[in-house]
Symmetry: C3
Subunit: 273 residues, 3 copies
């Protein structure tokens, strides 16, 4: 059950090493605290192995990729692989520049990721070697809809199988697959797209959830995806007239802070295909 997954995060307080972008990093840290984990950020080659070694999970995000930190991503990823820590990859903007696409592809070759989470355009870029990512948002033409759901599920299953890790595609409908099964998750609100970084926050949470649930990374990843979507619904219900994306951003994190196993199990809206 998903509820057990978040309860395990609160119980075990996994320390998560984040090599992430400077746009949404503060929200990632606060979301990790909100869900029961503990964040540390470090991107310096000289120390990433030390930091990864004291952590329970690693979260790599290329949202503001730069030459200085790429080496640190490889070093930390390899160290985490050695230590059998879960490693999450968020290929922000893969497809938007050659550097991002190449780095993302190279990382997936060298590092054994536990979960890769992105929007559909980013994941297609990884699958096909190039993409039509519109900046950091998915191309509308790519989006997972009820109409193309069957083929989307087939795509994510095949890609998860081929690349050998859990794939989470988030959007209006979220898909999480381990190559055999696929969680189809319908939590969330469209207004979440008007806040920068809900995807980055989710990737951080996936690292905490998988770190605290070593026996079932697949269920843990899906539970994290559900948690974010459900928090988006709860936060939206708390919105007051005159509020907008700034208030909503805080209300989602607050909903995660107040989430527990019961709330999650009751609010989770998914099917398995």
């Amino acid at each position: 059950m998903f509820g057990t997954c978040i309860e395990n995060v609160r119980r075990l307080v996994p320390l998560v090493h984040n090599i992430t972008n400077y746009v949404t990093v503060n929200d990632v840290a606060n979301v990790l605290l909100a869900c029961g984990g503990s964040p540390i950020m470090s991107d310096e080659l000289e120390e990433v192995e030390d930091i990864t070694a004291i952590c329970a999970g690693l979260n790599i995000n290329i949202g503001t990729l730069n030459a200085r930190t790429i080496d640190g991503m490889f070093a930390a990823g390899k160290k985490a692989n050695e230590l059998c820590h879960p490693v999450v990859f968020d290929p922000v903007g893969a497809g938007a520049s050659a550097l991002r696409t190449d780095t993302a592809l190279h990382l997936t070759e060298e590092i054994k990721f536990t979960v890769i989470r992105g929007n559909i355009s980013e994941i297609k870029t990884l699958a096909f070697g190039n993409g039509t990512t519109k900046g950091v948002d998915a191309d509308v033409a790519d989006e997972v809809t009820e109409e193309n759901l069957t083929e989307s599920v087939t795509f994510v299953k095949r890609f998860a199988q081929k690349i050998g890790c859990i794939i989470a595609i988030t959007g209006a409908i979220d898909l999480v697959s381990d190559g055999k099964k696929c969680y189809v998750i319908r939590n969330g609100r469209p207004e979440m797209g008007k806040i920068t970084g809900t995807g980055c926050q989710l990737s951080g949470m996936i690292a905490a959830f998988t770190a605290a649930n070593p026996k079932d990374h697949f269920e843990a990843a899906a539970a994290a995806v559900c948690t974010m979507g459900l928090a988006g619904e709860i936060g939206f219900r708390h919105m007051i007239k005159g509020e907008g994306n700034a208030a909503y951003r805080g209300r989602i994190i607050d909903a995660i802070y107040n989430m527990n196993g019961d709330i999650l199990d009751k609010g989770a809206n998914y099917e398995v295909r």
Copy 2:
């Protein structure tokens, strides 16, 4: 009309490339989303041209200038110039260090900016080659007031004409000039100065507004300045006892999120000189 300008942003959803500081970057991203644009942040020389090429506008901000990203500013600026994208420059802290002053002056020589937005001390630094910027805030002695308004308008018109781009000086009274005319804008609240980054946020918005209004960059820039000032007024009216600059920061972004053409046209408080 200013109202049309923001409606165009909401309709066209311009993707804006930001090379900006790590202090206020998250707010810049959320403001771009709030006004109807879409942000992407990238400062790495290896990819800035790719990123600029998929965007509709570029925003360069030297708030945490460092040697690594200066080359990226030049490369992105030149690429945007080639592609005839609007380019906004925010010379944060020009006058506060030789590096900032020199880089700002050098950028204005090499890049054709569409709009330069700063406080009066930063703009005087660009105009006279040196300044008395008090950190990132304007020197009180420089401030545009009702008393020195005529000479301030003359200064901004002349400097805009000389440098060949739109100049926006923001403070208690905002001035936006294309070298011939000058919008004198009296929206805003003094409490906005107690929030870090309202200037950076505005520069991001100017990039979105000019990108979505290619036929009249001058009106678009003034509309963005009015939008920020009016949002400051609306946000302030929503403040509750016990709140301070943290709440106010969110309330301003939320007011932008809820801004439309009608609200802007009714609330805009300006004259043209």
Copy 3:
């Protein structure tokens, strides 16, 4: 009296130079504005001396330490020492990696700090040359409690005396010592630990408080520690059902924004040992 210390910050508006991490930097800037100071962030070797020279205080924080900015920390620290500006050091994560521990120790050898503020594990790392910091949080085994208070006070006094600067250890009970006396401060709330960066924010405030109170750095540092703890209590009283760490973060900054000498003097909860 502590109240006078914050009133001096509001009256003198000290400009504080921050070389700090990109996780909590925005909050540090807003807290500096909230308490009456003015922030500027700069970490580039080429300009840090210029920036420090126009400021009244310096705040060095190693929360996302990287090779590029270490040289800037030394250069700015030496310049501030030359100018007799107060310099605050926040050894975030000292003990979590060799790079952080070594850099922190080296900084304390080369720079004359006015105040070093950290959690107990970080300070023990500085005192003993190695530590058991759990990421960026204190090791539970190290925590200052009523049970070990006498020996903790002895430790902080001895270390302050040995290293020759004011030491502030913050946690459930805060200790601030100049080597002779020790403020034992019991303001604050345990929920503050669920927000990223309250420690970083406090270090920024200590820089502002010491800069604005040159005659008594010790009292100024303790006043800043009390201000943060008391703001944590006031902010917590303003919390509404459904809110969590995101709202709390804003409410604390807002409480600082609304703090004055009277509120601080009435709410300060401390003894001197």
